[in-house]
């Protein structure tokens, strides 16, 4: 009988019964904001600064060392006992052998014990997001309790033609397969023309990205997500080696306008010299690393970890290789559907990687996402796109901005070379 059980127990049961009447029908955004013990939560997300490939402060620094820096910062900022981290996934695109060996070594050097496993993975520009999603899924499935999703790229040291091996005759004989090796700049230029995205619109979008990033940097809005890195740098003229501490992105150019960008020459001119994509309205080549600490909410509560956000759902989609830029347009609705049937209007902030102004602009337009919700602190056009890092970097950028503005629901997304798209839904807490 009910009155033989503890009185507080029965009060608790009655309370949950009544709250069930009120909560169980929540759908969409309201359901998303609920907190449950089995939520996959982020308790720390940070990144290194991003510096220009070949010229920035990280030009002499290996990817493994950038990763090492992100790992040590993650351990110290979160205060997590490193021995509790069971697996680390590192997204990376350019390292030979996927970077598997040096990333494991970087984890050990950063203070993770030998019991912490490490893998590297490559889904091109979404590698960093894929790493976070893999860790989240492993936690959800019960394979691990605590994990780190990370991404790193040293485009200074590893960008180049060696990243793609020669296509076999077999691949070249299948038209759609052969299209996978068309350079992204060239195909994006063609896509911009086919989709009717004008040079002016691209330059305006790019200038806006620079302006947003410049303003955010001046206001110190990146400071919370950036963990400074100390590196050794060789002066190219004097050969003098000095130690510098980098704490800000160096790609953000002040005072950019659509007019100044309009002066740049097409980067991928056709035979007639036409083309709308320039160095100014495409993402920058950069170096950097990012890391995200993930666990269940119940674990975070047990460990006393402060929850900064939760991972809700992710999607990966394929599109035609020559239309790789439309990836977010297809991936974002898929992720929103998996997150409980959200509408784009339910999302407060979109972090959509600006691989090219043309494709980002087109995707946002097709999805009806208002401009002010997209990349509020600027994007890869302004501060760079270290390929493997970007997906993990967006998590810290997004959650920091959502928390600063008191907003809740965010989406990270990017197009992926060879014709894919990825997106993930996050909630800041």
């Amino acid at each position: 009988m009910a009155n033989q059980t503890g009185r507080s127990d029965s009060a608790q049961e009655r309370l949950s019964q009544v709250s069930g009447h009120l909560s169980s029908q929540k759908r969409g955004r309201a359901a998303l904001l609920e907190q449950h013990p089995d939520d996959i939560v982020v308790t720390c997300a940070l990144r290194t600064p991003m510096t220009k490939g070949g010229r920035g402060a990280f030009r002499d620094t290996q990817a493994s060392d950038l990763l090492h820096s992100a790992f040590t910062s993650l351990l110290s900022r979160s205060g997590i006992d490193a021995s509790l981290v069971e697996d680390i996934a590192v997204g990376n695109v350019l390292a030979p052998g996927g970077g598997a060996t040096e990333f494991r070594a970087a984890a050990l050097a950063a203070g993770f014990p030998v019991t912490t496993a490490v893998k590297s993975l490559n889904r091109q520009c979404s590698s960093g997001l894929q790493a976070c999603v893999d860790i989240a899924n492993a936690i959800k499935a019960g394979m691990i309790d605590v994990g780190v999703g990370a991404g790193v790229e040293s485009m200074s040291t590893q960008y180049g033609p060696q990243a793609v091996s020669e296509f076999s005759e077999l691949l070249d004989s299948v038209p759609v397969a052969k299209e996978c090796k068309v350079p992204m700049g060239a195909l994006s230029d063609r896509m911009a023309r086919d989709k009717g995205v004008s040079r002016e619109a691209q330059d305006a979008f790019a200038a806006h990205s620079f302006q947003k990033a410049e303003r955010a940097q001046k206001q110190g809005l990146f400071d919370a997500e950036i963990a400074p890195v100390t590196v050794r740098l060789t002066d190219p003229e004097t050969d003098e080696v000095r130690e510098v501490t980098v704490s800000a992105d160096d790609g953000i150019r002040a005072g950019m306008t659509a007019q100044s960008l309009a002066k740049l020459r097409p980067a991928f001119p056709g035979e007639d010299g036409s083309g709308s994509i320039t160095a100014g309205n495409a993402s920058q080549i950069s170096d950097g690393a990012a890391a995200v600490l993930l666990m269940k909410r119940s674990t975070a509560q047990r460990l006393g970890q402060r929850v900064v956000g939760k991972f809700v759902a992710a999607s990966v989609v394929g599109v035609a290789p020559l239309l790789m830029g439309v990836g977010p347009w297809k991936a974002i609705p898929a992720a929103l559907a998996k997150a409980g049937g959200l509408d784009p209007a339910d999302v407060d902030v979109f972090e959509i990687n600006e691989a090219f102004a043309s494709q980002c602009l087109w995707c946002c337009g097709e999805l009806g996402i208002p401009e002010e919700k997209v990349n509020p602190k600027g994007g890869a056009i302004a501060f760079g796109h270290p390929l493997g890092m970007t997906g993990a970097r967006q998590v810290s950028t997004l959650l920091t901005e959502l928390r600063r503005t008191g907003k809740k629901v965010g989406v990270t997304s990017m197009c992926v070379g060879t014709g894919m798209g990825m997106a993930a839904v996050w909630v800041a807490e």
């Binding site: 009910a2 009155n3 309370l15």
Partner: protein
């Protein structure tokens, strides 16, 4: 609008006396019914407003009440400790004249047999309905639903029919005339969340209405004029009407509008198409299910036997004076059609005229 404060007690259910148009009972509970005492108020409607004629305090919360149909001074209450209590309001004793303790969990509804008047029932979170004879110390029957049963009733048209809705999103009908076989008198289990069927003979493209996910059903009521029509409502905020003769047909009407779960529905004793609802959204709303003839149709009117409407119902007005969850609403059986009483967690009982809140279209 008349008002009475149930100071310190949050209302859970209110019922007009079937014998007197000036007497209302309210089952209420301290601390929102989570922990603490219950109180059954007997209120009189007088020229000086609403006055408490009597009240009974109980050890545990009270969640529902029902007047005896056989004795004008006797009244039932269902309690949080699983007991069902019968009070006589003419006695000075503060205790019930009978208390039945068989349910293992909270009793959430009690209902008197309106036709035979010699039995009553109770339903509980323990997943059973129990049928009682007030002269018998033990229940005369137990009908399992295997699911937290928020609401159970006798049919107002047939003394052997018992209906119930429960948290498994089903409307069940038990017929006590059937043999008590393995199915325990269960003759129908109708999924409330099922999609409406296409009307017979309807042409054109398939309807766009789909099944909705199951959700807890919290309340239901038999139509007073159409003996096979039952209205249900609950956590999914929609009120649905069903014809129990055609369970596969799905809902006859679906009424959307409440913003939170619906806690109580009550068909009008005067008009066959009108019902009242009370909701966690702090409103009471009056609806037509779309079958009515303007101006009110009596029993047996044309069209009543074969309701073809798959909707067409609409909200006719709402009462927004409660400031907390509204948990109970009941119609006055007497006098002009439209007087009703509502109670809620705002510790208030409001007595009002439905006609005063209906829009010009009503």
């Amino acid at each position: 609008m008349l008002e009475f404060r149930t100071q310190g007690f949050n209302g859970y259910s209110t019922k007009y006396s079937p014998f007197f148009d000036s007497r209302i009972a309210v089952a209420a509970s301290a601390n929102f019914g989570l922990v603490g005492n219950g109180r059954l108020y007997i209120l009189g409607l007088t020229a000086d407003g609403v006055v408490p004629e009597k009240w009974f305090d109980t050890q545990d919360a009270l969640f529902d009440t029902a007047w005896s149909e056989a004795h004008e001074n006797q009244i039932l209450a269902g309690a949080g400790d699983g007991s069902v209590k019968l009070f006589d309001i003419t006695l000075s004793s503060p205790f019930p004249i009978q208390s039945w303790a068989e349910h293992a969990r909270e009793v959430f509804s009690v209902h008197w047999n309106l036709v035979s008047k010699d039995t009553f029932l109770s339903s509980s979170w323990d997943g059973t309905i129990k049928v009682w004879d007030p002269t018998n110390a033990a229940s005369v029957g137990t009908l399992p639903t295997h699911s937290c049963t928020y609401s159970a009733q006798f049919s107002p048209h047939n003394p052997a029919l018992i209906s119930a809705v429960s948290s498994d999103s089903h409307l069940r009908v038990f017929d006590l005339r059937t043999p008590a076989s393995a199915s325990n008198h269960l003759t129908l289990a109708l999924p409330i969340h099922a999609a409406p069927a296409k009307p017979p003979g309807a042409a054109g493209p398939p309807t766009v209405q789909h099944a909705v996910p199951p959700s807890e059903a919290l309340t239901h009521d038999w139509n007073k004029y159409r003996p096979t029509v039952v209205a249900t409502a609950g956590v999914d905020r929609a009120i649905r009407t069903f014809d129990i003769r055609a369970p596969a047909q799905g809902p006859l009407a679906v009424l959307h509008g409440h913003e939170y779960a619906v806690r109580r529905v009550a068909w009008s004793p005067h008009l066959s198409d009108v019902l009242l609802s009370a909701s966690y959204d702090m409103t009471c709303r009056v609806w037509t299910d779309g079958t009515g003839v303007k101006g009110g149709a009596g029993p047996g009117a044309m069209g009543m036997e074969h309701p073809v409407s798959l909707g067409g119902g609409r909200e006719m007005g709402r009462m927004e004076r409660h400031t907390e969850f509204v948990t109970g609403v009941d119609w006055c059986l007497f006098g002009a059609e439209g007087w009703c009483a509502s109670c809620g967690w705002d510790e208030r009982v409001l007595i009002w005229d439905v006609r005063a809140i209906m829009g010009p279209g009503g």
